[in-house]
C-alpha cells in the first residue's frame, strides 16, 4: 500500500482493507462529429459516447486505467447515482478508494460501447440518415470497433497511454484486443474470465438467445420501436438462457436445488394441490412444505422463479437489438482468424504485460480457454501471470468478491502503481 493511500484516511492496514465507495458519480458524454469506420465496412457517423471517471489523472497522465464492460453492463463501473438506491456500479466491489483497483492511485475510466443501450449511440437512437430510430439498421459493431471508439475518447481526454486495460468476459476480449490494436498505448492488460474466441457451444447459446428475440411477434424485424412494441418475451428467454450459463451447476444446486416455491392458491392456470399430493414416492406430506401442483404452467421450482425474475427485470431495461449486436460481437471476436487460427502469431504484436485470470467452475469461459491465451503469450515471451481461482460461482465469479481473486488483482495493481510511481 502506497503513501498516497493515506489521503482517504478511513481505512488502515494493507491487503485486509476492502476500501470504500467512490461515492456519487455523474456520467459524462462526448459527441464525435468525425465518423467511425467499422470493421464491417459500414460507418457510424455522428455518434456520442457516454463515460464515467473515478479518481484523478496525475500530472504525467500516466495513471489511467480503462475498464471494459461485458454484455449487459455499461460505463457505470463504480460508485452510485445520487438519490438512487442500489445504483452501485457493476464492478463497485473492485474499484474505489482502497479497493483492489484503487482510485486513490489510479484514474479509472468506464466507457459505454456504441451499439449499447445505456447512453452511447445505439439502436434506440435516431439514425441521422433517416430521422427514424436505427432499430435493426444499426451497423454491426465488433470488439475491434469498440476499442477504436474507446481510443478516440481517450484522445479527447488527453490520455496517450493507459497504465492498464482491464475487463472480464467480453470486457476481457476488449482488453486483449487493445494489446493488438494499440500495443504502444498501454502498459498492462488484465484479461479475466475471458477467451481468445467463442467455442461452437458458446455461439450456440448466443444463437438460441437471438432466436428467442427475433421470433418474438413483438420484434417486428427489429423495428419494434416504430411499432410501439418491445419484444419482452424474447428478451426474457434470452436472459434466462444467459443466466443459466453464468452459474455453475454446483452453485445452482446449492442456491435452489429442487426447492419449490410456496404455493400461491390464486395462481393462474393451476389448481391448489390435492391433500397429500406431495411425496409421490410415499409417506405423508409435511404440512408446512409446499407441494407439487401438477401444473405445466405455474412456477413451481425456485430456479424457475429465479430465472423468470431475472428475465422480467432484464426485459424492462435492455434493448433487444443491442442484445443481438453484442452477442454477435462476441461471436465474431477471433484475433487468430487473420493468422490461419494461429493465436501465437496473432498475439506477436502485443507489448503489454498480462494478468490472466480464470475461475475453475466457469464453463462458459473455461480455464482451458484462458490457458490458450497464456500459452500464446508465453510462446511470444510476453510477461504474463496466470491464476486459476478455485471459486464455486461459475462465470459470474469475475463480478463477485472472492478474497483470493481480489487479493491478486490488488497485488497486480500495486505493481503497476509502483511502476508508474502512482
Amino acid at each position: 500500500m502506497s503513501a498516497s493511500d493515506g489521503g482517504a484516511g478511513f481505512f488502515v492496514g494493507t491487503s485486509m482493507s476492502t476500501g470504500t465507495s467512490v461515492g456519487d458519480v455523474t456520467p459524462q458524454s462526448h459527441h464525435f462529429a468525425e465518423p467511425l469506420s467499422l470493421k464491417s465496412g459500414a460507418v457510424l457517423r455522428d455518434y456520442q459516447l457516454v463515460y464515467e471517471t473515478y479518481g484523478t489523472l496525475n500530472a504525467q497522465r500516466s495513471n489511467a486505467v480503462l475498464v471494459c464492460h461485458a454484455l449487459n453492463a455499461s460505463h457505470h463501473v463504480a460508485g452510485t447515482y445520487a438519490g438512487q438506491a442500489r445504483s452501485e456500479g457493476w464492478w463497485d466491489n473492485l474499484i474505489g478508494p482502497g479497493k483492489p483497483l484503487d482510485t486513490n492511485r489510479f484514474f479509472v475510466i468506464g466507457i459505454n460501447n456504441p451499439g449499447s443501450c445505456f447512453g452511447s449511440t445505439g439502436p434506440r437512437d435516431v439514425n441521422p440518415a433517416t430521422g427514424q430510430p436505427y432499430g435493426a439498421d444499426f451497423p454491426v459493431v465488433t470488439v475491434e470497433d469498440w476499442v477504436n471508439a474507446q481510443a478516440r475518447l481517450l484522445d479527447v481526454l488527453g490520455i496517450q497511454r493507459l497504465a492498464a486495460v482491464v475487463g472480464g468476459s467480453l470486457g476481457g476480449m476488449q482488453a486483449l484486443s487493445w494489446t493488438l490494436q494499440y500495443p504502444e498505448r498501454m502498459g498492462h492488460a488484465l484479461v479475466i474470465a475471458s477467451a481468445p474466441n467463442l467455442s461452437a457451444q458458446n455461439i450456440a447459446f448466443n444463437e438460441v438467445a437471438r432466436r428467442a428475440i427475433v421470433t418474438d411477434p413483438d420484434f417486428h424485424d427489429g423495428h419494434y420501436l416504430a411499432h410501439g412494441a418491445v419484444p419482452k418475451r424474447g428478451l426474457r428467454v434470452a436472459r434466462m438462457i444467459g443466466h443459466i450459463t453464468y452459474l455453475s451447476d454446483d452453485v445452482m444446486e446449492q442456491k435452489f436445488g429442487r426447492d419449490l416455491v410456496a404455493p400461491r392458491l390464486t395462481a393462474e392456470g393451476g389448481s391448489p394441490p390435492p391433500e397429500g399430493a406431495l411425496a409421490p414416492w410415499g409417506g405423508p406430506a409435511a404440512l408446512a412444505a409446499p407441494g407439487l401442483r401438477y401444473s405445466t404452467q405455474d412456477i413451481e421450482f425456485q430456479i424457475e422463479s429465479y430465472l423468470r425474475y431475472q428475465g422480467d427485470k432484464f426485459s424492462e431495461y435492455f434493448d433487444a437489438n443491442t442484445y443481438l449486436l453484442i452477442t454477435r460481437a462476441l461471436d465474431y471476436f477471433d484475433p487468430a482468424s487473420a493468422y490461419s487460427g494461429n493465436l501465437r502469431a496473432a498475439l506477436a504484436r502485443a507489448k503489454a504485460k498480462f494478468l490472466v485470470v480464470s475461475f475453475t467452475t466457469d464453463w462458459r469461459f473455461s480455464p482451458q480457454r484462458s490457458r490458450e491465451i497464456v500459452k500464446a503469450l508465453v510462446d511470444n515471451d510476453c510477461d504474463v501471470s496466470y491464476a486459476e481461482i478455485d471459486a464455486p460461482h461459475g462465470h459470474d465469479a469475475f463480478l463477485l468478491d472472492d478474497p483470493r481473486y481480489h487479493a491478486l488483482v490488488r497485488a497486480y495493481f500495486d505493481r503497476i502503481g509502483a511502476e508508474i510511481k502512482a
Binding site: 494478468l355 490457458r371 497464456v374 500459452k375 508465453v378 510462446d379 515471451d381 510477461d383 504474463v384 501471470s385 496466470y386 491464476a387 486459476e388 481461482i389 478455485d390 483470493r404 487479493a407 491478486l408 497485488a411 497486480y412 500495486d414 505493481r415
Partner: protein, 194 residues
Amino acid sequence: MNPNALHHIARLVPEGAAVLDLGCGEGQLLALLKAERRCTGYGVEIDDAKVLACVQRGVNVIQRNLEEGLSIFESNSFDVVLQLDTLQNLRNTEAMLRETARVGRIGIVSFPNFAHWPNRLSVLRGRMPVTKALPYQWFDTPNIRVGTFKDFEALAGQCGLRILEGFGLHQGQVVRQWPNLLASTAVFKFERGG
C-alpha cells in the same frame, strides 16, 4: 530454501537465460535471477498463496498443477528449466524429468538426499528419518518419491540425460566430497544426452 543455497543454484544459471521454474514457490529464485543475472521467464506454481506472493514480487507466475504436465510449453522454449525441491512431490517423476529436458536446453533439479548419513542412521535404528530436510512423518509426508544422490544419476541415465554438474548442499554449503553421504540436498545440472 536457504538463501546461500539459493545463490549456489543461481550460479548454475547463465546470465540472461530464459528460465522456467517449476514449483517456483514464492518466486524468490526468479526474482534473484532477474535482478542479479538479467534472466527472464516464468514460474509454475499450484498454491494460491504462493501465486499471490509471486505477483506481489513482480515475478511472472502461471498457476498450474505440474502433475498435468508441461504441454503449455513448447520444446526447447527455455534455456534453463529449474525444478527445486519439487520432483519428490510428484507422482510421475520420470515423465516430469523427460518433460523438463524437452522444454529446456538445461535442467537443474534439487531434492532431499535420502542417503544423507543421519537418514541412514535413522533407518538403521529402525525408524524413518525426520530431519530438517525431511521434516515429515512417514505417514503424512508430501515427499512421495524419496531418492538419493546416486539414484538420480541412475534415473538420469535411464532418461537419456547427461549430467553436467552434480553436487550436494548442506546448511547452505556446497558438498562435493561424498555428497551421497554428506549432503542433505542433491543438486544436478543436466542436458539431453545424445
